[in-house]
Symmetry: C2
Subunit: 215 residues, 2 copies
C-alpha cells in the first residue's frame, strides 16, 4: 500500500491521443506543471516495448513532481520500468496477483463500474489502494468499457466505497463540476488533457474546478 | 536457461481458434497425446484474467506429459501461472527483461523474421533458449506478422542461427515436409491443430512427418 497519494487530477496518458512518444512526454510534463496529481500510462494499441520506452522516459518527470506513475494493466511493464504501481480492470490479472508480483509498496487501483463490483472491491481493502469508478459518461476512447454509471451511479459508488475513488469516463472541462457533485476523491481524464491544444492550461483549469468544488 | 526441451512439434494454442477455454484444454490434451513436444498459449483477443485461468488449467496437463508450457508475450501471466517460460516478439518486452523477471530456469524464445534479427539474437545466446523463425508463409492468424521469409529465407535463418530454431507461420500438414527441408529444429503450428477436426490425429500425423524428414 502506498503511504500517500492524491487522486484529485488523475491523468490517463494515452500516447496515441497525444500524437506519439515525444508528444506524450510533452503532454505529461505540461499536465504536471498544470497540477496533475497522478499519471497513468495506457496505450492499448501499442506493443510492450514501446510502453516500456515511454514509461522509462516518464518516470523521472513524475518523480521530479513527486507524483505517482502507474501502468494500466501490464504488471510486467510496471516491474520492468520500476513504476509506482498499476491500474487494473475487472478482466486483468487480479488485484491479489498484482500485489504479489509488485510487492507491498506499490500503488494499485481497480476499476469498478457498479455497486456489485464496488462491494467485491471492499474485500480487497488490504490489497488495493483506490478505486476508479466509471465510465461516468460514454466514451469513445475505451471501446470495451462497461455501461456508463452516470452521476447518480457514481454518487452511489462513492458513498458505498471505503477506498478513495476517482471518477473516470467522458470527463471534460464542461462537465467536471457536475461530476465532482458526486463527491469522488478526484477526476481522471484522458482526452480532456491529451487532446487539449494547451495541456498545461487544460490541467490547470480542471485543477481549479476540482478545488472549487470542494469549498 | 532450460536444461532440455524439444521443439519438434510446437503447438501454439489459440483458444479462440479452438472454440474457447474448455475446447482449448481438450485440444491441448489431444495434441500432447498425439505427440506435441511444447505448448505455447497465445490469445491476443483475450484479457489477462482469461489467459491466467486457462494457463492454470493447462499447466498440470503439460506437466503430466513432461512438456514445457510457455506464454506468448505476457511475462506477468507467466509469473502468475508459474508457467515454464515465455515466447516474445521483437516488439514485446526485451529478452533481457524477460530473463530478469522470470529467472535463470525459464524457457525463453524469441521471434525472428530475417537475418538481421537472427544476427541480433546471437548476442542473446545466454539469455534466450531458442528462436521462432517466420512467418514461413503468409498467415491469417497473426495480422501484425512480418513479411513471410519463405522456405529459402527459413533455411538461411536456420543456417545462421546458433540457437535451436522452430519454424512458424502457415505450416499445415500439406507443407510440413517442405518446411522441414530447411532444417529447422521443428515446426510450430496453430490452426493445423487448433482447427483440426481431430487434433490428436493431426498432431500425430505432423509428428510422423517431422520424424520422417529427419531420416
Amino acid at each position: 500500500m502506498r503511504a500517500s497519494f492524491d487522486l484529485s487530477l488523475y491523468l490517463v496518458l494515452d500516447p496515441v491521443q497525444c500524437g506519439g512518444h515525444d508528444a506524450a512526454i510533452a503532454v505529461a510534463r505540461a499536465a504536471l506543471e498544470g497540477g496533475a496529481t497522478l499519471v497513468q500510462l495506457r496505450a492499448p494499441e501499442w506493443h510492450k516495448r514501446a510502453w516500456l520506452d515511454l514509461a522509462r522516459a516518464l518516470l523521472p518527470i513524475t518523480r521530479a513532481h513527486g507524483v505517482p506513475f502507474v501502468i494500466n494493466d501490464h504488471v510486467d511493464v510496471a516491474l520492468a520500468a520500476g513504476a509506482d504501481g498499476v491500474h487494473i480492470g475487472q478482466r486483468d490479472l487480479s488485484a491479489d496477483i498484482a500485489r504479489q508480483l509488485l510487492g507491498p509498496d506499490a500503488l494499485i487501483g481497480l476499476s469498478v463500474s457498479n455497486l456489485d463490483e464496488t462491494a467485491n472491491a471492499q474485500t480487497l481493502a488490504g490489497v488495493i489502494d483506490y478505486l476508479g469508478a466509471g465510465p461516468v459518461y460514454a466514451t469513445p476512447t475505451k471501446t470495451d468499457a462497461s455501461t456508463p454509471c452516470g452521476i447518480d451511479g457514481l454518487a452511489d459508488i462513492c458513498t458505498a466505497a471505503r477506498l478513495p475513488t476517482v471518477a473516470i469516463g467522458g470527463i471534460q472541462a464542461h462537465n467536471a463540476a457536475d461530476v465532482m457533485r458526486a463527491k469522488p476523491a478526484g477526476l481522471a481524464v484522458v482526452s480532456a488533457i491529451c487532446k487539449a491544444a494547451d495541456p498545461r492550461a487544460a490541467a490547470s483549469s480542471l485543477a481549479a474546478t476540482i478545488a472549487q468544488s470542494r469549498i
